[in-house]
Amino acid sequence: MKDIFIIENSFLIRSALQKLISEHFVSFQIHEMISLKAFFANKGKRNNCIIVINECLLTEKDEIELAKFKEINVVKISCEKAAQMNDLKTIFIDEEPVTIIKKLNNLLDNFQKVRKSGNEVRILSRREEDILKYVALGLTNREIADKLFLSAHTVITHRKNISSKLGIKTIAGFTVYALLNKIILPSDIGLN
């Protein structure tokens, strides 16, 4: 996710937010818009993004529409005073920059956590994982080759790649990695 949409019809608010966000979230691409219409028209970039939108520009119908997209996070801009409103998902017009940044940061953190648990980034390919499993179970290269219908040479190449991808050199290390990631179970190697 690399996109933040600022949807706000006041030029002053919009450009101030643009400046603040671009200074603190350097790796994000910021898009400025004056209504949600432009957002819906922008095909392709609508999943995995953050929308910072003036609450006056957001109808209930829009919210239902937005909920259909994957992993969109909405932050509202409110023209009310922030007094006593402890709302992490709303930016108030009289808030200090540090508070605004804190809210956006918090949102990003949660967002990344949700993504991780849903769709963990895989380090190893399917095939490499199969090979790792047999290595962790203590099979020799020859035995692994026979099981997976590969040449011993191919198994060795895979093992080298697995080792450099994981940063692990020993069989005991592979076994711990496989157990931590539930590629094998403790009972498979006679533990517990």
Partner: protein, 246 residues
């Protein structure tokens, strides 16, 4: 930068404070004022060439041993290696073990299983480590000292020649196994794959110790392989040669 004999001992500590561990293995105590390396070594009865070899190879992993400086005694090398072993066994390994125990004490139901795996890995490693050191202490070093004695005194050469035929230093070099790799793995498992733990400072302590131990061990193994082994090999050759000539 190479460390040389005319440098003040205090300076090399400022350059690289990990050398503190190393000078301790020579029984050098702090408080050396402005004395140079040579002066401190002379006062302690330490072979300064040997001392320089050790600190230089520790300070710079690419340091290439200077052939001219290699006429020191095997006894010195063995003493240094023994001191190092002692330091691992009495200080380093227990320290890491303690931190890992702290990690377990701080576990929660979510990470207990993972932490127990780390503990098991460490305990297996410790066992391997003890076996490795035990073999060197109780077989290799005594053999090495016997070879040196026969070489220097020209006595008992026949008996030693028999031993050489049975087990030479090359046999040791061949089976000298690498005990740094598992340490490297343990580091990476904690850095990259361990689920979050409550007290991150325990992990930092463990990692700091593992990095230090790994560096120390790499240096230690390099001295065994590139300083000890070639010297013993040359002596073995000389002893076998002199037997033939007789």
């Amino acid at each position: 930068m190479q460390i040389h004999r005319a440098m003040p001992m205090a300076d090399i500590i400022h350059i690289n404070y990990s050398l503190l561990q190393v000078i301790t293995r020579f029984d050098i105590r702090l408080g050396f004022g402005n004395k140079t390396i040579e002066e401190v070594c002379r006062g302690q009865g330490i072979d300064v060439n040997f001392f320089l070899e050790i600190v230089n190879s520790f300070h710079d992993p690419d340091y290439f041993p200077d052939k001219e400086l290699q006429n020191f005694r095997l006894t010195d090398i063995v003493n240094y290696l023994r001191k190092t072993h002692q330091y691992y066994l009495e200080v380093k390994i227990p320290q890491i073990g303690l931190y890992i125990q702290q990690l377990l004490d701080n576990s929660n139901p979510g990470n207990l299983e993972s932490l127990e795996l780390i503990n098991r890995f460490f305990l297996d490693y410790r066992q391997e480590f003890l076996t490795h050191i035990d073999r060197e202490e109780n077989h290799v070093f005594s053999y090495v000292l016997e070879v040196e004695k026969a070489f220097l005194t020209k006595r008992l050469e026949k008996q030693v020649a028999e031993k050489i035929k049975n087990y030479s230093i090359d046999d040791f070099a061949d089976e000298h196994d690498n005990i740094e790799d598992k340490l490297f793995d343990l580091k990476n498992i904690i850095i990259k794959y361990l689920p979050p733990v409550k007290d991150v400072f325990i992990c930092i302590n463990i990692l700091t110790e593992l990095f230090r131990l790994e560096k120390d061990l790499n240096n230690h193994a390099r001295i065994e392989d590139t300083v000890l082994v070639p010297k013993v090999r040359a002596m073995e050759k000389a002893i076998l040669g002199s037997i033939k000539r007789k």
